[in-house]
Symmetry: C2
Subunit: 435 residues, 2 copies
């Protein structure tokens, strides 16, 4: 039986999970892949902490370069994270004609085009199933299963931290701050949570998924990103009363000559399958012309779900090696010559429905002033809900608009913010009726 040597760069949570599966599932993997997947070397600055893995004949070293330069190693798994040393190591590994498996969505979103070009030039595979949606087979589905489909839209919950926080606020009326604190205590959120709760992690994943779905270059910078810091229990309560749920969604839709790509809190009706995706679970709904609606659901993070996705990439590459078919599937699922430049819609041109929440002092004429400005900006109101005063004496005013233009809404909100009786910045939540 052929022996395929594997090196892991980074012996943290995911690296440990990958090592665990390679060791504990050695026999299963041989029976399924038809090759010995031999974990030859792991590199990490920390070579002393016990990760609870019996390494046997596997070397644990501190210099990743030795893995990259080892002529016996076929596949390198990068689980360092970040965009500095991970980037250097991956580029060097590809140049050394190593197949690379990574879960590093930030790096792919920021430098994926360069990494893919380098992989292509060196005729090796660059695989990243674990980068989006943890163990859900999103990337395999887009590259392989949906091969004969034009994908019209994707909407997805791709960040477990945000989904946990929103679920907590929804279930027990916690404040955002209390729910975040709980998420941190449970290990769902980092001490510095901005990457998650401000939507950037979700945007990284959307940049990758858009490229795969539409055969376009990875484009992070044009994705509109908003996080969940401003969501309050009253927003979720209001949504509930009207049969809606609030989720942080990644939305990617194809139009004639552009793509819509945005990440923001979104009100979705209870009939949307994503509305039942709770706690730290992730899911993606894909609409495609042949399949219609499909959904994948699973753990989007965590040691073993992520390691499972890394292993599916390793097995794919191993199956390529033993059957003689390197780089069998193009990295984005499209031949490199056919990767298109598809512009992302400028957010100002978006037309959708909006939920707006204003906080006002309980003075006469406030509602008239707000609705007047909306009217002047051609924004027509579907319903208005004014609740009693808060404990602090302020009055929340919630509105739902008919279809309106984003630039007009932003313009109106700017004007309304300057109204004397309106306090702070209004909160916007966009509404998606479909799927």
């Amino acid at each position: 039986m052929e022996k395929i040597n594997i090196g892991i760069l980074g012996y943290g949570v995911v690296g440990t999970g990958v090592a665990k599966l390679l060791k504990e599932k050695k026999q299963l993997l041989e029976h399924r892949v038809g090759a010995q997947l031999n974990l030859k070397t792991i590199a990490d600055i920390d070579t002393t902490t016990d990760r609870g893995i019996n390494l046997g004949s596997t070397n644990l070293i501190s210099d990743g370069n030795l893995i990259i330069e080892d002529p016996d190693i076929h596949i390198i798994v990068e689980t360092i994270g970040g965009q500095t040393i991970a980037r250097e190591f991956i580029l060097k590994a590809l140049e050394h004609k190593k197949h690379v498996v990574t879960a590093n969505k930030a790096l792919l979103a920021g430098h994926g085009n360069l990494l893919m070009k380098t992989a292509k030039e060196n005729q090796v595979d660059l695989a990243f199933e674990a980068s989006c949606g943890g163990c859900m087979p999103i990337i395999k589905s887009l590259r392989e299963s949906l091969v004969a489909n034009n994908i019209t839209s994707m909407s997805a919950i791709l960040n477990g931290t945000c989904n946990y926080i929103l679920t907590r606020i929804s279930n027990d009326g916690s404040s955002f701050e209390a729910a975040l604190k709980d998420a941190q205590d449970l290990g769902y959120a980092e001490a510095e949570p901005s990457l998650d709760i401000d939507g950037h992690d979700t945007a990284h994943k959307l940049a990758i998924l858009n490229a795969l779905a539409h055969g376009m270059e990875i484009n992070l910078k044009d994705i509109h990103v908003e996080g969940i810091r401003n969501i309050r229990p009253e927003d979720i309560q209001f949504a509930k009363e009207f049969g809606y749920t609030i989720k942080l969604l990644a939305i990617g839709k194809i139009h004639d000559n552009h793509v819509e790509a945005r990440v923001h809190p979104t009100m979705i009706p209870d009939s949307n399958p994503l509305s039942n995706v709770n706690s730290s679970m992730n899911a993606i709904v894909i609409e495609a012309d042949a399949t219609g609606q499909t959904m994948l659901y699973g753990h989007g993070a965590g040691m073993m779900p992520t390691a499972s996705a890394v292993l599916s990439d390793i097995a794919d590459i191993a199956r390529n090696i033993i059957s003689g078919g390197n780089t069998r599937v193009p990295i984005l699922g499209y031949l490199e010559d056919h990767i298109q430049h598809i512009p992302i819609l400028n957010m100002a041109q978006l037309n959708t429905r909006y939920y707006l929440r204003f906080e006002a002092q309980d003075h006469p004429g406030v509602l008239s002033r707000i609705s007047g400005v909306l009217g002047e900006n051609n924004i027509s109101i579907e319903s208005v809900h004014q609740k009693g005063r808060n404990a602090n004496g302020k009055v929340p005013i919630m509105m739902i608009t008919h279809l309106a233009n984003e630039a007009s809404v932003q313009n109106a909100l700017k004007q309304i913010s300057t109204t004397q009786s309106v306090i702070g910045s209004p909160v916007i939540i966009r509404i998606e009726e479909t799927p």
Copy 2:
């Protein structure tokens, strides 16, 4: 660009869908696969009916043997259905060293072991993504994505006809007969609906999925199968009141040295993601040791969803051909030498909870007699619900048991059936609390 010639046997609904995608998505497929997928010939007894496809240079002939014997054809798609001529054609095609793609679950469940052996001997691929769950990538997930997992359980809604009927009964209190009639009018159910509503179609799919999940031979005959003919609105209403839904589930669970494999109406709690899968949609929940719970959801049937799955198989095989890696993934995802004989648990040994419905004449002592027999058989009752008389003067009695043994339940029901005041056969619905 390499040209890969394809032949289709059977120009019915699915065959037409496959032809449509090969024609209309010709350019997309070239850009994704890197080969020309050329539909060279279609064979069907009916060569005259217009299927609305512009065939161009594709031949439409009546003798399938000419496709099998054509030395230029690389991949043969079987969309005839049934277990007679389809079986002969597939065996002959494999012997002629053609790769075969089929959606024929009945054939695979009945003769899959022989077909796989023949494919292996001839070193060609036999692919069947479309056989289970339509466009959902179940088979790819089991063979490739979950490669490093031990799959502990699967539970799935795999028949759109049954799910449509149960959803109708649940939504508007239709009788089974009325819901079936509607399903037939809408084209969801066949004029002869037994294959669907008696659970056989679901069992065919479970036999295939068990083999893929656990690396075991296809075994249809030992799967316990019950359909949905006896489900009444009052069962679903009762379930609802207690936070449950009734679905026809395929259940496959691995134990130390056997597999549980059963198809029957099942009461599941509203917290089970399958409880939200309605109308003709299909879904599968897979529990595996590394990933935890994952779910796939989508259209389980229909021309284009099924054709989409067939195309994913064609693209896989084409990618194998151009990269030189025939039979890259073993047919069941395990090397043939490691396919095990795992026995299926005898149903009599099952332990689970039960919902039981009896219909009785409103005579004194009936309830005492029923509960007495259950007690004698060591079946302990969790709750009893006796409703008012039906229009026909009969009294329905519903019970939920604690964990009980199947053989004991069957024995008790046999005794109770002979009780004078009990009318007809009691109805059994098994309860699944997990996932």
